[in-house]
Symmetry: C2
Subunit: 194 residues, 2 copies
Amino acid sequence: MTHDIVESPARRRVLTTARALFYAEGVRRVGIDRIIAEAGVAKATFYHHFPTKDDLVCAYLREQSRSERSLVERLESGDAEPTTKILALFDVIGEVGCGPGFNGCPFINAAAEYPDPRHPVQRAIAEHRRWFRGLLYDLLTAAGHADAARTAAMLSVLRDGLVVGSDLDDPAEIRDLTRAAVERILAPAAAPAT
Amino acid sequence: MTHDIVESPARRRVLTTARALFYAEGVRRVGIDRIIAEAGVAKATFYHHFPTKDDLVCAYLREQSRSERSLVERLESGDAEPTTKILALFDVIGEVGCGPGFNGCPFINAAAEYPDPRHPVQRAIAEHRRWFRGLLYDLLTAAGHADAARTAAMLSVLRDGLVVGSDLDDPAEIRDLTRAAVERILAPAAAPAT
DNA sequence: CCCACGGTAGACAGACCTGTCTGGTAACGT
DNA sequence: ACGTTACCAGACAGGTCTGTCTACCGTGGG
């Protein structure tokens, strides 16, 4: 009854390798054989932990989601104004897009490879997206923003556009216009209290 | 010396079939065998017109680009104000996202499957994106917008976010907030000439 | 002691993929 | 009449994919 309080090292290695390869080259492009070779894991072990490739893909996306959540938690932990936190959050998004290995949003990319909305992969994507939008909504509500729901949706749209643009266009340019774009979206509720 | 003034019917059939399948299911997922079967074309004929699958993918994207350009030309042909044209353009984007077969942006989707920026497919994508951004820039310039380049980039970002959101979230909601989002992006240059 | 467990190594099946090749038909311009 | 061109039908090669299976090893708890 050794519960997996500590995750199996082999499983960990597989997940780390899969994450790097899936993100860099696309999910369908990377085969199981390559993952187990680079992770140094036997095939039987792999299929013991992940009965199906789809299971691995879902685990990859959940892992990615965990990463982003904990990153945001660190950002959000301060006692700054909620609006400041939103700006900081988007600053990070613009900055990450300029990083060397940046390749767009793992969730948007995976969605392109799994178009069926009822597929488990799409469900994992949807859950992550719900979280992110909820985060924006909470921050806007805490800021006392009028029409927080609608503005959260707009910021979510903006975020998607930023990561796509950082991937396919000039990331530095995107980074430099991010703050202004967020401010424009937030503007209508900015009371003219000068 | 029969120039292809008229496109070969077999080639046309292949392109039409490929377009539907690639868009609906993803590029890597759809094999040549299936395309030629559904198009009713012999394999040799296919490889005569498209020496490589990549060639077909590029042709698919160019075709898609032509479609969008001609759609926009129709929209743009009127003698309305440039700003009105921009709003009309985004209205169409929001509306198309609610259509039954909508599956996101073919270019963004293809980019996820071909991450290498030097790949011909990525070049075709980049060209299409340059066109679209140029279109926005021209409209903003015609509207006498201050800082047209920057605002064009923001609208391009917004557009990407809208199509991604229409695909992965609630398209009707996206459609309903599109106009307001565009107006917020355009706002700072709206001279307070009331 | 022993045996369950997590692991390694790798063969194998069966499907699917791209791309080549052979062979035959029909239209068309010269 | 002839050659070119476009087309269809389908076999084939060589590779890759997912997933299964056998066989073996080391360690630690009962």
